[in-house]
């Protein structure tokens, strides 16, 4: 199985490579050429002009501010997840309280709740709380919807810590608090980086909560900026694709340098 080449899968993988590679090539090429060149020679051609105007145009359209807002949202969501999930997962794995296993069931149930399902009441709650059109109003629900998956991933990685280590510490009279900081946190670094990646991607790519819960330019995040750009300048395809490229650039850069960690992190989302 692993020794001879698998031709069927090989062909499939080449086709898939083409399906993914071609659009990415068109995207990159289009962002570096003028609108006239793109319209005249078509998307797949090799550019005969070179310009950075498409990127500059995106910044003129306000993308600098949107970028900043997205960074704020992403950092805050990751922060909240990292504060809330480790103690939760620790309790899920080690606590024998019945209530804790009920809490875990609640979070498992939460896996099936899509953001769309709660968007109307969320709009009501956030408006009532006076957080409408405020980045905090986006951060809180986004973080909440990262919790179930993060808890699942992290508790999976904490479960791999050998029980003997806990017993040894218990014999030494360690409190749960000390075990958490000296044993559980250091030994679940892998899981912690996975949930960081997961939450960051969710927050960076989030669309529905910002769409419904913010309004003004000063609170717009980058996905929303992209959507507006498309509605307003849909005909300027190189300009639009420049904005698309900008929105994904940070993620792609991280991916380039930390591919292994990122892919493994994402792998944990589905099945470790």
């Amino acid at each position: 199985m692993r020794r001879r080449p698998n031709y069927l899968a090989g062909v499939g993988s080449v086709v898939w490579l083409f399906l993914v590679g071609l659009p990415l090539y068109v995207l990159l090429a289009a962002t570096l050429r003028t609108r006239g060149d793109y319209a005249e020679n078509g998307p797949v051609s090799v550019p005969d002009t070179f310009t950075l105007d498409n990127y500059l145009g995106a910044f003129d359209a306000g993308f600098g501010q949107y970028f900043l807002n997205t960074i704020v949202v992403t950092a805050a969501v990751v922060g909240l997840v990292l504060v809330l999930v480790p103690p939760l997962s620790y309790a899920i794995v080690r606590s024998r309280s019945r209530v804790t296993s009920q809490v875990f069931r609640l979070f498992l149930l939460g896996l099936a709740i899509p953001a769309q399902a709660v968007i109307v009441p969320m709009f009501y709650l956030i408006s009532e709380a006076g957080l409408y059109d405020n980045l905090l109003g986006v951060i809180l629900p986004t973080a909440a919807f990262c919790l179930p998956m993060s808890a699942l991933i992290l508790s999976g990685s904490m479960r791999d810590i050998s029980p003997e280590l806990f017993e040894a510490m218990a014999v030494d009279g360690a409190t749960p608090r000390r075990m958490f900081f000296q044993l559980v946190v250091p030994l679940s670094r892998g899981g912690l980086s996975t949930i960081t990646v997961f939450a960051a991607l969710q927050a960076w790519n989030g669309f529905l909560f910002p769409l419904v819960l913010t309004q003004s330019d000063s609170t717009k995040v980058i996905t929303l900026g992209l959507y507006n750009f498309q509605t307003e300048h849909g005909i300027d395809i190189p300009g639009l694709l420049g904005a698309v490229m900008l929105s994904m650039l940070p993620v792609l850069l991280v991916y380039l340098f930390a591919r292994r960690a990122l892919v493994q992190g994402l792998m944990g989302v589905g099945g470790k």
Binding site: G21, P23, Y38, G42, T175, N205, L208, A243
Partner: protein, 318 residues
């Protein structure tokens, strides 16, 4: 593949080496964290996910236009939805797109996942490019494909032999085709990852034994690899179902539900009702329908497959 999407809560199944003292004995909880450790996350989650979920049920019996206070109207929203041809149509389109997604993506991602789990040449470079769509937001992906498939300036204008007049968004069949294609493009890498992880965890001994018995590659695939991927298939299909039922950005950006209402899936219709027509009661009723459907389907799949026994797929192997 030690823990899957439904890893056992600690109380459900003691693991080897986790010698348990009888519950309730005073020594049992020494050095163990109490429920308090889970409390902050539980409160936060309840406030921003469970409470809204309960409220969506309540709001589906209310009339609210976004201003002022919601007013109780009984089952009016529901009976209006039942008589609404667009709602019924949207359910069919949602189901069609979900099923289409599963049928197209499952074989594709199994094939690619098993391939990526092997040791082919150039695999690292190839799979680096493979997984890019996975990192992108649905918004970026949709905007990208909207531009690439533009009837005047996009790829269809280049390849008229394939696309005819090139307006893929003007007809129901092709518009649905575009939506299915774009979700496949975006999500296949993710499901490939699930299968890749699972295929790597298949014990080599099974293949060695099969080889001794003279089983060929295809028999090995169908009799060893596929059965061993069972749990992952369930995980993957549940995720595809929930994802399919709640597709939103793709439709908003690529087709706006059109032509006419031909690609108006339920999640998009919910958004239109609530945030464009300011009919939040009806919007809530649609949302509730979606949650119930997603939950029921997931539960049925989990039950039918025996997945709720929460057995680790490595059991009995090591």
């Amino acid at each position: 593949m030690t823990t899957q999407i439904t890893s056992a809560p600690p109380a459900a199944e003691p693991r080897k080496g986790d010698r348990r003292r009888p519950a309730g004995s005073p020594a049992a909880n020494v050095g163990r964290p109490g429920f308090g450790w889970a409390l902050p996350a539980a409160i936060f989650f309840t406030l921003f996910a469970i409470v809204p979920l309960i409220m969506v049920a309540v709001l589906s019996f209310m009339s609210w236009n976004g201003l002022g206070s919601p007013r109780f109207v009984g089952t009016e929203n529901w009976s209006r939805l039942l008589d609404d041809p667009v709602m019924l149509k949207s359910i069919w389109i949602t189901l069609l797109l979900t099923v289409l997604g599963i049928v197209v993506q499952t074989p594709l991602s199994i094939l690619l996942g098993v391939w990526a789990a092997g040791h082919q040449r150039n695999r690292a470079v190839l799979s680096a490019i493979y997984f890019v769509p996975l990192l992108l937001s649905a918004t970026a992906v949709s905007v990208l494909w909207r531009a690439l498939l533009d009837p005047n300036f996009g790829i269809p204008a280049e390849a008229t032999w394939l696309f005819g007049d090139g307006n893929l968004f003007g007809e129901q069949t092709t518009a649905i085709g575009v939506l299915a294609f774009v979700s496949t493009w975006q999500f296949t890498p993710f499901h490939t990852l699930i299968y890749q992880g699972a295929a790597r965890a298949v014990p080599e001994v099974l293949y060695q034994a099969a080889e001794i018995d003279g089983a060929g590659r295809y028999r090995q695939f169908f009799h060893i690899t596929l059965p061993q991927l069972r749990n992952s298939m369930i995980t993957s299909m549940i995720l595809m179902t929930v994802g399919g039922l709640t597709t939103f950005e793709t439709v908003l950006i690529l087709t706006q539900g059109g032509p006419g209402t031909d690609t108006t899936i339920s999640a998009y219709y919910m958004y239109e009702k609530a945030f464009k027509s300011f009919d939040f009661g009806v919007g809530s009723a649609i949302a509730l329908t979606l949650v119930v459907a997603a939950t029921v389907i997931s539960l049925v799949v989990v039950r039918v497959s025996g997945y709720d026994k929460m057995r680790s797929s490595m059991e009995g192997v090591s």
